[in-house]
């Protein structure tokens, strides 16, 4: 029972402080979640983390909240999901509640702006670090289709600014076709 309570506590603290430091949208929190739950706590495998991120991105609503629900559910069931939702929602809720009182002063504050500008470089480095690991693993997998999907998705979103929903649909479709093709081939091989 004590270890279970420990897991709940860790889930809440982790999701709370990940959320408190997620400047700049869903795809900043996914690398941080990967570092926390895959590398550090080892509660989730790397591939599963990417699966959960894909589901979070394909669902309506904020990616950070969706990913938090999935991780909480995966680690500790429904109660886990409720805990991670609270942990993810509370930091922006508290910060905006405070800021909304004096928001023009906050918006025009030179120190706040200087610190935020400084953080951009750090955030970019954190994401680069995770991309080197994840992208390296995709390339090391030596699966040419996966590498092509990664390159194609990157060009589509970064250069052509194609809506992420279409990219997800097309890549999921390519993945399912490839697997069906593979399993048919395997069946034929078995028959021979």
């Amino acid at each position: 029972m004590k270890s279970k309570n420990n897991i709940y506590k860790k889930l809440f603290v982790s999701s709370f402080y990940l959320s408190a430091f997620t400047f700049g949208g869903g795809f900043v929190i996914i690398p941080l979640m990967k570092k926390k739950f895959v590398d550090e706590l080892q509660w989730i495998e790397e591939n599963e983390m990417l699966n959960l991120a894909a589901i979070a991105q394909s669902s309506p609503g904020a990616v950070a909240v969706n990913a938090a629900i999935l991780i909480g559910y995966r680690v500790a069931g429904i109660l886990g999901a409720i805990i991670t939702i609270l942990g993810t929602v509370l930091p922006p809720f508290i910060i905006i509640s405070v800021v909304s009182v004096f928001y023009t002063a906050f918006r025009d504050n030179l120190i706040v702006n200087a610190v935020l500008k400084g953080m951009q470089a750090g955030i970019a480095a954190v994401i680069a670090d995770v991309v080197i690991n994840l992208g390296g693993n995709v390339i090391k997998g030596k699966d040419i289709i996966s590498v092509l999907i990664m390159a194609g998705a990157f060009i589509s979103t970064f250069y052509f600014k194609i809506n992420v929903v279409y990219i997800i649909l097309v890549c999921g479709f390519i993945g399912s076709i490839r697997t069906l093709f593979h399993s048919n081939k395997n069946k034929k091989d078995d028959n021979l």
Partner: protein, 187 residues
């Protein structure tokens, strides 16, 4: 009943914003500025600026901000719950399907196509922030004078520390905020 109205507005925002923060902005504007006149357009612009300066999803930030202005803390709570309610139901349903059927070949296939896609999306988000840090709002340019060298050096150092020492990434972000903040205040 104003609380119910707030709930319903943010419920719709939560339900129809697929694909993250940028997809939510026009929906929020439509509900909050056009339909209900809860904020003026310039207040809405302030809201987006503040949402980008503070942590957390834009939809949650907006829900809290608008809720508080219309009906105080209860308004903020109702708006936030409305905003995440559709996610909770739909994601829980998908999670249940995923954990029950993840051994299915077709689902495995779809996910094998989506994993490299997610890596690409993370890379794209990272590169967008990188170019914001190095070139500011104007984006990539070959003009050497437009490059923010403080950012370049801090990025290089931060990445080096992350690769070699593998510290908690939060410390790297905080450290670059403090060091960068001090440098920018002096310059």
């Amino acid at each position: 009943m104003i609380l119910l109205k707030i709930f319903w507005s943010f419920f719709q925002i939560g339900l129809f914003s697929i694909g993250g923060g940028m997809a939510a902005i026009p929906l929020i504007q439509n509900q909050v500025v056009t339909i209900h006149n809860w904020l003026t357009l310039s207040e809405f612009t302030d809201l987006i600026t503040i949402a980008e300066m503070t942590p957390g999803p834009i939809a949650i930030n907006s829900a809290t901000f608008v809720g508080i202005r219309i009906a105080g803390i209860p308004g903020a709570i109702v708006a936030t719950i409305g905003c995440i309610f559709p996610s909770c139901i739909i994601v829980s349903l998908l999670a249940w399907i995923y954990f029950k059927y993840k051994q299915l070949t077709v689902l495995q296939g779809i996910l094998s196509g989506l994993r490299p896609t997610i890596v690409a999306l993370i890379a794209s988000a990272g590169l967008t922030i990188f170019s914001l840090a190095i070139w500011g709002d104007n984006g990539f340019s070959l003009d050497f004078q437009l490059i923010n060298y403080v950012s370049v050096i801090m990025f290089g150092l931060a990445l080096f520390i992350l690769r070699k020492l593998k510290p908690n990434p939060i410390y790297v972000m905080l450290g670059s905020g403090i060091i960068g903040g001090v440098i920018y205040m002096i310059l």
